[in-house]
């Protein structure tokens, strides 16, 4: 053995952080050093900003066209998030790579968190910030002046929080179920229920659900515009409860996922 063992500096991270830095670097590599980043960028630019451009070309008012961005982002982005996130956990469990990396000095919570952080960062940039910045340019170029930058940034923040909800939900489901059916069914079921709740006459149950779930962030609810669109234009919000409940939801999902993966057998 030629490489000097004594000169190698061992990793010092202990506890839940053990292996996190290395696993996170690998996850970030898989986002930014493969074709994934430009595929995602292209996809969302075409889908989200392309939809806005088509609406403007179709003689929609610019503000309405801008609204379509949030509606589209509220539906299409979570579908992509659910699809990719479930595969990141389930795919690794089925392929055997999860067992491989977990036989190394890597804590199970670190395995989960590395994916959560990398995917959250990936979708934040490719699905929120980049298309959001292009949307701002589009709206400005098409004559919509005076869009408050902070409000617009906050709207993109809501778009990201909405993604985070579905990402953590999927992460949890991927640790609880072994098949893709229940994971896709439950997470996409929640998403589509939110869409249809906004389109149907409100009931006490739907009122309650839209208060505690992030559906209003991106979807219409009765006569109300999506919260993201209201925040972007600086309009008053009909409710702030969904903004308060979303982070506890995410923490709960991550907590359950960590609890479950610690008991998983590979």
């Amino acid at each position: 053995m030629n490489a000097e063992l004594s000169t190698l500096v061992p990793r010092r991270a202990r506890g839940w952080r053990m292996g996190l830095a290395n696993m996170l670097a690998k996850e970030i590599f898989s986002w930014w050093r493969t074709r994934r980043w430009w595929v995602q960028c292209l996809l969302w630019l075409v889908l989200l900003n392309g939809a806005v451009e088509l609406n403007i070309m179709g003689d929609f008012p610019v503000s309405q066209a801008g609204m379509s961005f949030f509606l589209m982002a509220g539906l299409a982005l979570p579908i992509a998030v659910v699809s990719l996130t479930q595969d990141s956990i389930l795919g690794e469990r089925h392929a055997g790579t999860a067992a491989w990396v977990l036989s190394k000095p890597l804590r199970r919570p670190a395995f989960l968190l590395s994916k959560l952080i990398a995917y959250a960062l990936g979708f934040l940039v490719t699905g929120c910030l980049l298309p959001g910045a292009v949307l701002y340019l589009q709206l400005t170029l098409h004559g919509m002046q005076g869009i408050p930058v902070l409000g617009f940034a906050a709207a993109l923040g809501l778009c990201f929080l909405n993604l985070l909800f579905y990402m953590t939900l999927t992460l949890m489901l991927a640790t609880l179920f072994d098949g893709r059916g229940p994971i896709l069914g439950i997470s996409l079921g929640i998403l589509l229920t939110g869409l249809f709740c906004g389109l149907m006459p409100p009931t006490r149950l739907t009122h309650f659900l839209v208060e505690i779930l992030p559906w209003r962030f991106m979807f219409l609810f009765g006569p109300d515009n999506p919260l993201a669109a209201l925040v972007a234009t600086g309009a008053p919000l009909p409710t702030v409860i969904p903004l308060i409940t979303i982070l506890p939801w995410c923490l709960l999902f991550v907590g359950v996922a960590v609890w479950r993966i610690r008991r998983e057998e590979f």
Binding site: N22, V101, R107
Partner: protein, 335 residues
């Protein structure tokens, strides 16, 4: 009858047995959904040994390995690696162990070098140059230097296996756990893997499961045999082979073979007789439970009736495969 001959073997301490224990389990067992995959298992692996872990499919080898690595939780019992509890100190254990899975899987988009860099990253944070040197030397060791920068997705089964061995030992492990390291390899690949294992033995302890008994006989110094989740044999390979040799005799007679066979089969210490006829003579492989009695009495008893003459007699040397088959057969018979 308990076919585990561990107690006899363990009495004779040789060099390996004088070494400290690296793996020790006490009553380690695993039940999956009501099915007992591993009966309470007491196994010992000594430092600097190459220990072959044998058993038919479904014997519980992979289950044992997963329990040792913390990838599965035992139903009962305990285990230690380097004196550290496999449940309580699993983080520390994994820092000192290299593991090759039965069907090694890697991230397909990474090259072999990136895979090793990723693996090394769990153990070391620098200096980068030394890590790269270590990676290069590991690639060289397994003969993958010329394919180091190709994506893993284009690798053959044998190349994946080599990469598996490389990643398992990139961190200078004190213990290498290899699950079927030569299973996917052609004869040349197998030979290479065995050579790598022999080269590594001076630095590390190797615990590996396999079906290929020739390989075990070539490189291992200790053997553990598992059958239906039960430990049936454990000890230095010479003693396991000696046990096999001690209990099987060859006897060739000319004349009234039927009478000889009938007389011998009636003996309580004759476990089995397998007949091979040739050139008017009749030969048997006779398995016995009491080699001393057999050595003293088989020939006199064969000659006792007067109708036959003994042409050949002697202990039969067995290879590991025969010993293994006999042990497993005997164990299955008792179940």
């Amino acid at each position: 009858m308990d076919t585990t001959f561990k107690p006899q073997l363990m009495n004779d301490l040789n060099f390996i047995e004088s070494q400290p224990q690296v793996i020790q389990t006490i009553g380690l067992s695993k039940t999956y959904k009501g099915v007992q995959a591993l009966q309470p298992l007491n196994l010992e692996v000594r430092e600097h040994s190459i220990c072959g872990f044998l058993g038919p499919n479904g014997a519980g080898k992979t289950t044992t390995i997963k329990l040792l690595l913390g990838l599965a939780r035992p139903t009962s019992g305990s285990g230690q690696i380097f004196g550290l509890d496999i449940l309580g100190a699993n983080d520390e254990i994994r820092r000192r162990v290299g593991y090759l899975a039965q069907d090694p899987r890697f991230y397909e988009y990474m090259s072999a070098r990136e895979t090793l860099r990723f693996t090394a990253g769990f153990f070391y944070e620098g200096p980068r140059q030394t890590i790269e040197e270590r990676i290069a030397e590991t690639l060289d060791l397994v003969g993958l230097s010329d394919k180091a920068d190709r994506p893993v997705k284009g690798f053959s089964g044998g190349e994946r296996q080599r990469l598996g061995i490389a990643q398992a030992q990139v961190n200078y492990p004190d213990l290498l756990i290899l699950d079927e390291p030569a299973a996917a390899l052609d004869p040349i690949g197998r030979k290479d893997v065995l050579e790598v294992m022999e080269r590594l033995r001076k630095h590390t302890t190797i615990f590996y499961s396999t079906h290929i008994l020739d390989d075990v006989q070539r490189v291992s110094d200790t053997v553990i045999i598992l059958n239906h989740g039960t430990l049936v044999a454990q000890g230095p390979i010479e003693e396991v082979l000696a046990w096999g040799q001690a209990s099987v005799f060859n006897l060739t007679v000319q004349g009234d073979a039927a009478a000889v066979e009938s007389r011998l089969r009636s003996l309580p210490w004759v476990v089995g007789m397998e007949m091979i006829s040739k050139n008017g003579r009749v030969s048997w492989q006779i398995r016995v439970s009491d080699p001393e009695q057999a050595e003293a009495q088989l020939v006199p008893l064969a000659l006792a009736g007067g109708g036959a003459t003994v042409c050949e007699f002697g202990r039969r040397s067995q290879n590991l495969e025969e010993v293994f088959m006999n042990i497993v057969k005997e164990n299955n018979h008792e179940r």
